[in-house]
Symmetry: C2
Subunit: 372 residues, 2 copies
DNA sequence: GTGAAAGCGCTAACAA
DNA sequence: TTGTTAGCGCTTTCAC
C-alpha cells in the first residue's frame, strides 16, 4: 500500500515462519510519535526490516534503501522522513542481506597465532582501528600457532569476509597464494612474493642492535633463537649476522628455545656456559626469562652480561633491569595491512606492495659496557 | 535440468551481474575427474555456490543443502557424491545466505574496553575457544573505554550477530536491558539484574587479601581506587571494606587514579604521605606503577610497604619485586559468558543466571611482615 | 524521484 | 529419497 499515511499507529499482525518458529509479526504504519517496536509472541523484540520502515514511512522498500545508500537519488524531504522513521523503529540494515546481494560483507578477518601474546595486541589494535575507520568489521581468529587451524579458519571464514590479514602466518607460500585467489590477503611480518606484505625493517634494526653493543665494547654476541618456522626469527638472525660481520663482531646462534619466560633457564645456562658477554634473544619474553635465570645464578645484568630483546612488549619497561629492545610499530603494521586488504577489495591490485616499517632501538638498563 | 549426468564436463557460460560488474559465470556439469574452478573474466576465481555444486553433481540445490545440513535425509551414496563434487569445486556454504534464511548468523560479538589491556586477553582467549568449540565465529570489538562507542558497536553489529558478550560494560543498566531485548547478552564482571552475568568472587577474594595482610601484622590498609565507573572497582572496595572491618583493620580509599603505570607516582606519593604500611591497588598495572615510584623514592617493598594488586597479569610475575595479586579466572569467564549467550540463542532463558567464579590469591614478594 | 520486480545463496515446506 | 518452489532482507535495474 504505497503512500499510506496514518496519524496513529496500526498493527497488522501476520505470522511469519522463521527458523521453524512461528513469529507474530507486525507491520507498523506510522509517521509520528513514539511507538512500541515489533514484537514476536514470546515477548522478544523482532528487529525492524526495510519493509517495516517502508510501510511505516509510506514509501517503497527501494526508497528506504536509497535513502541509506544513495542519498543524492532521493528527494531530500523524503530522505529525512525515512531516516526519522527508521531511527524510531530502531532499524539497522541487515549486513547479511547486503552481503548476499553485493557479495561484499564489509568484514575483514585478522588471524594471529596467539591472541594473548602481547606482541600481537598492537597489531590487533591497529587493525581494529583501521577497520573501524574504513567502516569495516573485524573478525579475530586465533590460529593457536597451528597451520592446520589457520587453514581451517581461512576456509571457514572465507565466504564470510572480504579479505584476510594474516599475522605471522605459518602457512607455506603456495597455500597462501591459493587462498589469495579467493580472498585478498595481506601479510604482517611474513613476506611472500605476489602478496601484500607489511614487514618490520629488521635489517636496519639488527644493525642498530649490533652498533649499540659494539659501542659498548662487546666483541661478540649470542643470538638465542626462537621457533625454527618463525619468519621473523629467521630475518632477525640473518640481519644480526650480516651486521655483526660488518662490524667485526663474532655472532653465534643458540637454540631454538621456547619464546616465553619458560625458555629462559635453558638459554641463560647455555649463555653462561659459553661465557658470552652479550646476548640477543628472539623476543622480549625470552629475554626476560633469561634475565630472571641470570639473577638466580648471581650473574649481574648488564655488568656481566648485556641482554637485548625484540618487540618492546608491556613489561619490558618494568622488568628488572628494564630491557633494551627493538621496538616494532605493531599498530602501524596492523593498520597498514588492513588498508592493503581494503585496497584490494575495492579494486584488483596487480602487484601488491611490500611495505617496510621502521624499527626503533629502545635502550634501557639491560645493556652496558662490557665487563662494566 | 534435473538428473542430468554427463561424463565429461561442460561449460555453460552465462553472464552475471555482481556489484555492478559483469562476471562470466560457468555452470559446470560433471560428476567425475578434476576440473578448473569457476573463474570470472579477470582471472579471479569465483566462489562456487550451491547451484554450481548441484549442477556439477547432477542433483537439485536442495539436495546439496541437505547433504550438508541433514545427512540422514539424503541417500548415502548421493551424499558421498555431492560432498566429493563440493570438495572438488572448493565449495563452502555462504554464511550470509544461511543467516538471511535462518535469522541466525552463528556469530557472537565480544566487546571489551581495550583490546591491548592484558587483563582482557584472558577473556578474549576463553571466549574465542568456547565460541570455536560451539562452531561460532567471534567478532571482537574495542569500545575504547567509551560508552558511546560501545552503544554504536552494539547497534551496528546487532543485526550481524546472534548475541553479545560485554566485558566490563560501561553502559547503564537500562540501556543494557534495552539491547538485550534485541540480542541475547552476557556480561562479564558487571552485574545487571535480569541479564546473564559472569563475575569474579570479589567478596571471598578481598577477604583473602585482608586475611593475608592481617596475618602479616598489618593493622590498616589503603585502597588505591581506579575509574569511578568501574563496576569491578566498586566491588573490590566494598569487599575490602567489609573484610577489613570484620578483621578489625582500618581501611581507607584514595584516588581515583589512572589504572596504569602512569597512575603510580601520584598514588605512591599519597601512600607515603599517609604513612600506610599496606596498599591494595585497583589493578596490577597501578600496583606496579606504585612500586616503581616507591623504589625511586627509596622505599623498600615489602619491608616498608606491602603492595597487592588485582588481575595477575603477565608481568606481575617478573616485576620487581614480584607482585602479590588476586587472580581471576578470566579465560573461564570469557568461556562461560559465551556459553550463556549461546544457551540464550538456542532457547529463550527466562531467568538468566549469574555465575560467580572463584578467585585465587597469588602471594609473591611484594607483601611481607609489617615493618619487616 | 519513486515504485515494482527480480535476484543474490541458501533453507524449508510441500510434492512427487 | 529427491525435486520444485517460495522467500529470508536487501540492492538494483527498469519503468513510470
Amino acid at each position: 500500500m504505497p503512500g499510506v499515511r496514518v496519524d496513529s499507529w496500526v498493527l497488522m499482525p501476520s505470522s511469519v515462519e522463521v527458523a521453524g518458529v512461528t513469529w507474530q509479526a507486525f507491520a507498523i504504519l506510522c509517521h509520528t510519535g513514539s511507538m512500541p517496536r515489533a514484537r514476536s509472541r514470546d515477548g522478544a523484540r523482532r528487529r525492524a526490516t526495510i519493509t517495516d520502515v517502508a510501510a511505516a514511512a509510506g514509501v517503497a522498500a527501494s526508497t528506504v534503501s536509497r535513502a541509506f545508500t544513495r542519498p543524492d537519488r532521493v528527494n531530500h524531504r523524503t530522505r529525512e522522513h525515512v531516516l526519522a522513521v527508521a531511527a524510531e523503529l530502531g532499524y539497522a540494515p541487515n549486513p547479511a542481506a547486503r552481503a548476499l546481494e553485493s557479495g561484499r560483507t564489509n568484514t575483514l578477518a585478522l588471524l594471529v597465532p596467539d591472541i594473548t601474546n602481547p606482541y600481537f595486541s598492537g597489531v590487533i589494535k591497529g587493525a581494529e582501528r583501521a577497520a573501524a575507520a574504513a567502516g569495516l568489521t573485524l573478525v579475530l581468529g586465533d590460529t593457536q600457532e597451528n597451520p592446520a587451524t589457520e587453514e581451517q579458519l581461512i576456509r571457514r571464514l572465507g565466504p564470510a569476509v572480504d579479505g584476510f590479514v594474516l599475522s605471522a602466518s605459518r602457512l607455506p607460500d603456495d597455500e597462501l597464494r591459493r587462498a589469495a585467489e579467493l580472498n585478498p590477503i595481506a601479510l604482517v611480518n611474513r613476506a611472500t612474493p605476489g602478496l601484500a606484505c607489511v614487514v618490520a625493517d629488521f635489517d636496519t634494526g639488527t644493525r642498530q642492535i649490533v652498533d649499540h653493543l659494539a659501542s659498548l665494547g662487546h666483541e661478540s654476541l649470542v643470538f638465542l633463537g626462537g621457533p625454527p618456522e618463525s619468519w621473523s626469527g629467521a630475518r632477525r638472525w640473518a640481519g644480526l649476522r650480516v651486521a655483526a660481520e660488518a662490524r667485526g663482531l663474532a655472532a653465534t646462534r643458540f637454540g631454538p628455545y621456547t619464546p616465553t619466560l619458560g625458555g629462559g633457564p635453558a638459554a641463560a645456562d647455555a649463555v653462561l656456559a659459553a661465557g658470552a658477554t652479550a646476548v640477543v634473544a628472539h623476543n622480549d619474553m625470552l629475554a626476560i626469562g633469561v634475565m630472571l635465570r641470570l639473577a638466580e645464578r648471581g650473574v649481574a645484568v648488564p655488568d656481566d652480561v648485556s641482554v637485548v630483546g625484540f618487540d618492546n612488549i608491556v613489561g619490558s619497561d618494568f622488568c628488572s633491569p628494564t630491557l633494551t629492545t627493538l621496538a616494532e610499530r605493531t599498530e602501524d603494521a596492523g593498520a597498514r595491512a588492513v588498508e592493503a586488504v581494503a585496497a584490494q577489495v575495492l579494486s584488483r591490485v596487480d602487484d601488491p606492495p611490500t611495505r617496510v616499517l621502521p624499527t626503533q632501538l629502545v635502550v634501557r638498563r639491560s645493556t652496558g659496557v662490557r665487563g662494566g
